[in-house]
């Protein structure tokens, strides 16, 4: 009888402990966020082609943390540089070379080699 009482106490304690852990889980719990399964929130991959002296598409709308791949389809070398203060820049991209950016905020960019070439990324 005493053993059974100890067993019940253990089960009860375990249940309280599990409840406590659930209560402490962060909002970014991998199971759900804002009612959506985490699978729906996986970062997407987008491509911007550099072709005929243009960034195509010129405006790209993405979610935060999405991946943007820039690929140079021109015969000339280009780069991708943040326009306002040149806070970041790809290295020069020769024909068919690529560069990957993780979108963290909306940004205007340009080719610092050919400054008339401009594009922007809008983070939703």
């Amino acid at each position: 009888m005493k053993d059974q009482w100890v067993k019940w106490k253990l089960v009860f304690g375990l249940l309280i402990w599990i409840g406590f852990l659930n209560g402490c889980s962060s909002p970014s719990d991998p199971l759900q966020e804002d009612g959506k399964a985490i699978n729906d929130q996986k970062p997407a991959t987008h491509t911007v082609e550099i072709k005929q002296m243009k960034f195509i598409p010129g405006t790209l709308t993405v979610n935060k943390e999405d991946t943007v791949i820039f690929i140079n389809r021109d015969i000339l070398t280009h780069d991708v540089t943040e326009e306002l203060s040149r806070s970041w820049s790809s290295s020069p991209l020769k024909a068919n070379e690529t560069w990957v950016l993780t979108a963290t905020e909306s940004v205007n960019y340009f080719c610092s080699i050919h400054p008339v070439m401009k594009g922007n990324i809008v983070v939703k």
Binding site: Q52, M53, K54, D74, I75, L76, T77, I113, H114, P115, V116, M117
Partner: protein, 179 residues
């Protein structure tokens, strides 16, 4: 009476069209694909010559960077044209148009070499704007229409956006220099 007026109008329109065609034929010399290739290569070489002078004579980093871009880009276009000519078995052939371009370039080069400092920068950048305008116009109205080979025509069409971007870049510099 009405019919004879219509007939007269048609004849006048036909004569005007013939006159335009004749004038166009006189203005645009007939070029073979080998001659078109020569004009394309010479036009690119000339801008590289101007850029090398700018690298020697300009004190402005921005002008020097622009000149380096001209050297890199026009060299890439020449390499592309040379590779295509080799593939097609075409040897660029000297002709009156390329000769005329070279003659003009000699004169411009002499003029650029006589200048220095801000006066040189202005002359170089002004010339870049005008030279790219002239080359774009020649490609659109002379070289592309005169080219028979589809790949050569396509190469000429593909380099046009680059030349237009160069013109835009030169115009940006022109504005900065005038401030």
């Amino acid at each position: 009476m009405k019919k004879s007026i219509q007939f007269l109008c048609c004849c006048t329109a036909l004569m005007a069209l013939l006159l335009v065609q004749q004038t166009t034929a006189q203005t645009n010399p007939k070029l073979s694909d080998a001659e078109v290739a020569s004009v394309a290569v010479v036009a690119n070489q000339i801008d590289i010559r101007y850029a090398n002078i700018a690298k020697e004579r300009s004190a402005s980093n921005e002008v020097k960077e622009f000149a380096q871009t001209m050297i890199n880009d026009h060299t890439a276009v020449i390499e592309q044209a040379a590779a295509l000519a080799k593939k097609l078995g075409v040897t660029p052939k000297d002709n009156a148009v390329s000769q005329s371009l070279l003659k003009g370039a000699d004169k411009t080069e002499k003029d650029l070499r006589s200048k220095s400092g801000a006066s040189f920068d202005k002359a170089y950048v002004d010339n870049e704007v005008n030279y790219h305008k002239a080359v774009i116009s020649a490609i659109e109205s002379l070289l592309i229409p005169e080219t028979d080979n589809a790949e050569l025509k396509s190469l000429l069409q593909n380099v046009l956006p680059a030349f237009k971007a160069h013109q835009g870049h030169a115009e940006m510099l022109q504005k900065k220099l005038s401030k």
